[in-house]
């Protein structure tokens, strides 16, 4: 699904966000990207939805060479992915329904497809009863769920989440992560960049740890902190 080979990213101001990162993520996987702020988690995701192009290296997303993608093809790429952000990024002058529908409308979908798929997405996240409300009338958790519904409405194979629980309280966080788990069970590849220790430790999925722009560990059933992987139990 995702393949990074020797990927480096140097920002115009000289900051080296990623340094020779190589990573493979298969279809249907659930992967956490962890590390301090500034270690390159968000940058890596940004490369995947082509917000930026890498300075070096090769990136493949579902067979597409994203690193070499022409500007005008980027919208098409993004329509095949779902991206969820820490600050939800909802359109404040549109209702929940309209926000989710928008992602469909930009692909030029017919109204009847919109009428069919939007409720489905809203049901998935449990917000069908609030479809007429505006983002500022919703709680943080509900807004994030709206954003997830929007990310999913095009049935993407890949869902990228950049600190999805960053602005949420523990209860909402649990809800959101549970939602992501269910989505993953249906076959969607899910990549979550986070610095939420509790979430990572609870779910025990593949954990890719970044530090200074490099991948330092990659564990199957990992913990947030180094040295606690491979089913080792924290004592004391």
């Amino acid at each position: 699904m995702i393949s990074l080979r020797g990927v480096s990213l140097v920002y115009p101001n000289g900051v080296r966000a990623l340094d020779g990162v190589s990573l493979e993520i298969g279809k249907g996987e659930f992967v956490f990207l962890v590390g301090h702020s500034g270690t390159g988690k968000s940058s890596l995701l940004r490369l995947l939805y082509r917000e930026m192009a890498p300075t070096n290296g090769q990136i493949l997303v579902d067979g597409i060479r994203v690193d070499r993608l022409a500007h005008r093809r980027v919208p098409a790429l993004r329509r095949h992915l779902g991206v969820v952000f820490q600050d939800y990024k909802l359109l404040t002058d549109k209702t929940v329904w309209e926000n989710v529908a928008f992602a469909l409308q930009v692909t030029g979908a017919h109204t009847r497809d919109v009428q069919r798929q939007v409720p489905r997405a809203l049901d998935l996240v449990g917000l069908a009863h609030k479809s007429r409300m505006y983002p500022n009338e919703l709680s943080g958790g509900e807004q994030q769920r709206t954003a997830i519904a929007r990310a999913l409405v095009n049935n993407p194979k890949l869902l990228l989440c950049d600190e999805p629980s960053g602005n949420l309280d523990p209860a909402n966080t649990t809800e959101i992560m549970e939602l992501l788990r269910r989505i993953n069970l249906k076959g969607t590849t899910v990549v979550v960049a986070t610095h939420n220790q509790a979430v990572v430790d609870r779910m025990r999925r593949r954990v890719v740890r970044l530090d200074n722009g490099r991948v330092i560990t990659d564990e199957e059933r990992g913990y947030y902190f180094l040295g606690l992987g491979q089913d080792q139990i924290l004592s004391g």
Binding site: R72, R78, R79, K89, V106
Partner: protein, 271 residues
């Protein structure tokens, strides 16, 4: 913000429209005046009838001449009396001071000076007049307005375009969050552009409509006043093709609106 853009376009198009209208009026006036030009050929008062006939024949034979009308001095005096009624008591005249005259009309107004010159050469022709001053002035004015016209039009359109462009840029900037979200969701640039282009188009059309309204009002209220002040100008007789002008103004408004907003959005999307 919208009001500013519309207002600007309106003002620009008002200026443009007035300018075009006046220019067209001048052209028409010029043409009308030209077509009315008569060369007044005053015959030497001592000329005999036979000599006058020879003048008439010579005039009639000139291919450039459209018509020749003879105005004997008696008729001339009667016309003068009628025109000067109350101002001069013509009964004081003991004899008719006026000469006989021929009123000569020419086929092509441009030929007037040349024809007048050749008439002057005919024997027993005392004086040839055709309002040289007026004609010369008008010709100069016409060519001047034509040249100035293009430059002015370009300038106006440029100014309106720049201002609309800046207004749209402000709008785009104000909505940059929405635009970036649209881009993240996978909207193409064209999709994002469209609403702004429409806004620009509407601003342009609205400005043009406002301008046309103002110009129409101005025309309706000013024309009677001009007619009173300068009756010889005959403004109403000037049949400027108003509908064509209105259409042109709307087209200009629309074009400026679309182009300006296209450029404004494009600049933002490219960064």
């Amino acid at each position: 913000m919208q009001a500013t853009a519309i207002g600007t376009v309106a003002v620009t198009i008002i200026l443009l429209g007035s300018f075009l209208y006046i220019r067209a009026a001048f052209v028409h006036l010029g043409n009308d005046v030209f077509s009315q030009i008569e060369i007044s050929t005053y015959v030497d008062t001592s000329a005999t009838t036979a000599q006058e006939d020879r003048i008439r024949t010579a005039l009639a034979r000139d291919p450039r001449v459209l018509s020749v009308t003879f105005v004997p001095k008696r008729q001339g005096l009667a016309q003068l009396r009628a025109r000067m009624k109350g101002q001069i008591d013509t009964s004081l005249l003991t004899e008719n001071p006026l000469p006989d005259k021929f009123r000569v009309r020419v086929r092509d107004a441009q030929e007037v000076p040349a024809v007048a010159a050749s008439i002057q050469k005919l024997p027993h022709v005392q004086n040839v007049e055709y309002g040289q001053q007026v004609v010369q002035r008008l010709l100069q004015l016409a060519s001047l307005t034509r040249r100035v016209g293009i430059a002015v039009i370009v300038l106006f359109v440029l100014v309106a375009g720049i201002i609309i462009s800046n207004t749209i840029r402000l709008t785009v900037f104000a909505r940059r969050r929405e635009i970036s979200i649209m881009q993240l969701v996978g909207a193409t640039n064209m999709y994002i552009r469209m609403p702004f282009i429409c806004e620009g188009l509407l601003a342009g059309l609205a400005g043009a409509a406002a301008a046309v309204g103002v110009l129409a009002l101005a025309r309706a209220s000013l024309v009677p006043k001009i007619e009173l002040a300068l009756p010889w100008l005959q403004v109403n007789a000037v049949s400027v093709d108003v509908w064509a002008l209105v259409l042109q103004l709307f087209a200009v408004g629309a074009a400026v609106g679309v182009v300006a907003s296209w450029i404004a959005v494009g600049r933002y999307l490219r960064t």
